[in-house]
């Protein structure tokens, strides 16, 4: 009886764990289409990222994420300057960027309040127009 109780507890615990959502991560590919232009951002595990427009490399840089804050720098602005954005993951497959601080106006105008949807594996190629 005791063994059955332990076994039941383990099964219940495992079942509960299986419902816990893995932590949100920016690593991966994110995409958004606006006015006929498809923007795709690739955030890699080595803390580098690229942004593509219609399948063309647009800019490259480095980034870090601490809790809900993204810091990123790219050569188009200043490779040594990191703008910061609050990350808001929602709907299970989307992210919103809200400016905390960024003196690079071009980047800020593009990113502030922008949302992107996660690209599922194998879809990146199809995303190219």
């Amino acid at each position: 009886m005791k063994k059955l109780l332990i076994l039941s507890s383990v099964i219940i615990a495992l079942a509960a764990l299986s419902f816990i959502t893995p932590p949100d991560t920016l690593v991966g590919r994110w995409q958004k289409t606006y006015r006929g232009v498809t923007a795709l951002a690739a955030f890699r595990t080595n803390n580098t990222f690229d942004v593509f427009m219609n399948g063309k490399l647009f800019t490259s840089g480095k980034y870090t994420v601490r809790q809900d804050t993204l810091a990123l720098a790219d050569a188009g602005c200043n490779a040594a300057y990191y703008g910061t954005y609050k990350l808001g993951f929602f709907a299970g497959d989307s992210v919103r960027f809200v400016t905390i601080q960024d003196t690079c106006e071009g980047r800020k105008n593009t990113m502030h309040n922008a949302t992107m949807g996660r690209v599922k594996p194998g879809e990146a190629k199809a995303a190219k127009p």
Binding site: D50, F52, G55, K56, L57, S60, A79, A124, K125
Partner: protein, 322 residues
């Protein structure tokens, strides 16, 4: 009954001949624009088309310093590539056209290029049974200034390239798509050489105009953007050229003064050595870059990696020559 047989035969022959033409008929604006782009009907003496100077094998650019128009007349500036214009916002070296549609008609009327007033060009197209039918099918109306511009512009919008080795490297994380030298060149482009300050974006150009030091008011006297804006600050400024497929679009700069990418890189390395008394040169080029020979090679290999795969055979030949 015999007459009916002749009539039936005539109908069948007519349909068969007609269907032979149908296979080549443009079905949309871009296809119609492609036909117009390559048709010398739009030049005064019917010898020059857009494609005469925007040659597909050279990424829709030309190999001459300046292109030759009707009656052997020479243009005043180097022919830019007609590719990768979808995301651009100003056209011509001096940015005189704000839209592709506006741009599409200007070379037709330019006396040094096709020298055909637009009204005359429209009349010509309207005398063509073929074009009357095609415009009717695509636009639902006869050829006019607006739909001719739309068709040519729409064709140009199809000339996008996004399958260069660089794109392959970055998009697909394919580390073998470009050489280690090209990767170092990419880092230089974004770093020490500082090319990224002007050549930024999907086509490696921004919408800005810059004076790179090719104006001295004497031997180099093209005032560029200033002729359009009438502002002294724009003296010697030109549109920043996109770099996709740049290996194929020599010679370089608005005046075609550099025959090779090596010459371009050497110029940027130390502009004063080539044009010592430049007026209004951009402060970004105030100091020599002091690139080493290896760094120059790396930069060049990076630029070569911007060539789309549709042109790979061509760029291989370029490499063999250099």
């Amino acid at each position: 009954m015999k007459a009916y047989g002749y009539f039936l035969t005539a109908i069948i022959v007519f349909v068969l001949i007609g269907s032979a033409f149908v296979t080549d008929e443009p079905t949309d604006k871009a296809a119609l624009g492609k036909r117009l782009f390559s048709d010398p009907i739009l030049s005064r003496n019917r010898t020059i088309s857009c494609a005469t100077c925007h040659r597909e094998e050279f990424a829709f650019a030309d190999t001459s310093v300046v292109s030759v128009g009707v009656f052997g007349r020479k243009g005043k500036r180097n022919t830019p590539s007609a590719m990768n214009v979808l995301l651009q916002s100003r056209f011509f070296w001096d940015g005189r056209a704000k839209t592709l549609e506006e741009q599409a008609l200007i070379p037709i009327a330019n006396p040094d290029e096709m020298d055909l007033p637009i009204d005359v060009a429209i009349k010509r197209l309207n005398t063509s049974r073929l074009y009357r039918a095609e415009f009717g099918r695509v636009f639902g109306e006869l050829p006019n200034k607006s739909n001719v511009a739309k068709a040519i512009a729409e064709f140009q919008r199809t000339l996008e390239t996004n399958e260069s080795p660089l794109d392959d490297w970055r998009m697909n994380d394919n580390e073998t798509a470009v050489s280690e030298s090209a990767k170092r060149g990419f880092a230089l482009f974004n770093g020490k050489a500082n090319c990224i300050q002007c050549h930024f974006g999907a086509n490696f150009n921004s919408s800005e105009f810059r004076n790179i030091g090719l104006y001295d008011g004497k031997t180099l006297a093209d005032s560029g953007r200033a002729a359009i804006t009438k502002k002294a600050a724009d003296l010697g400024k030109f549109k920043i050229g996109p770099l996709r497929n740049v290996a194929l679009t020599a010679p370089y700069m608005h005046n075609g003064m550099f025959k090779t990418l090596d010459a371009v890189i050497n110029y940027y390395d130390d502009p004063d050595k080539v044009v010592p008394n430049a007026i209004n040169r951009d402060p970004l080029l105030a100091k020599p870059l002091q690139l080493t020979t290896q760094e120059k090679t790396d930069l060049k290999n990076f630029l070569l990696s911007l060539t789309d795969k549709r042109f790979v055979a061509k760029v291989t030949a370029v490499r063999k020559r250099s």
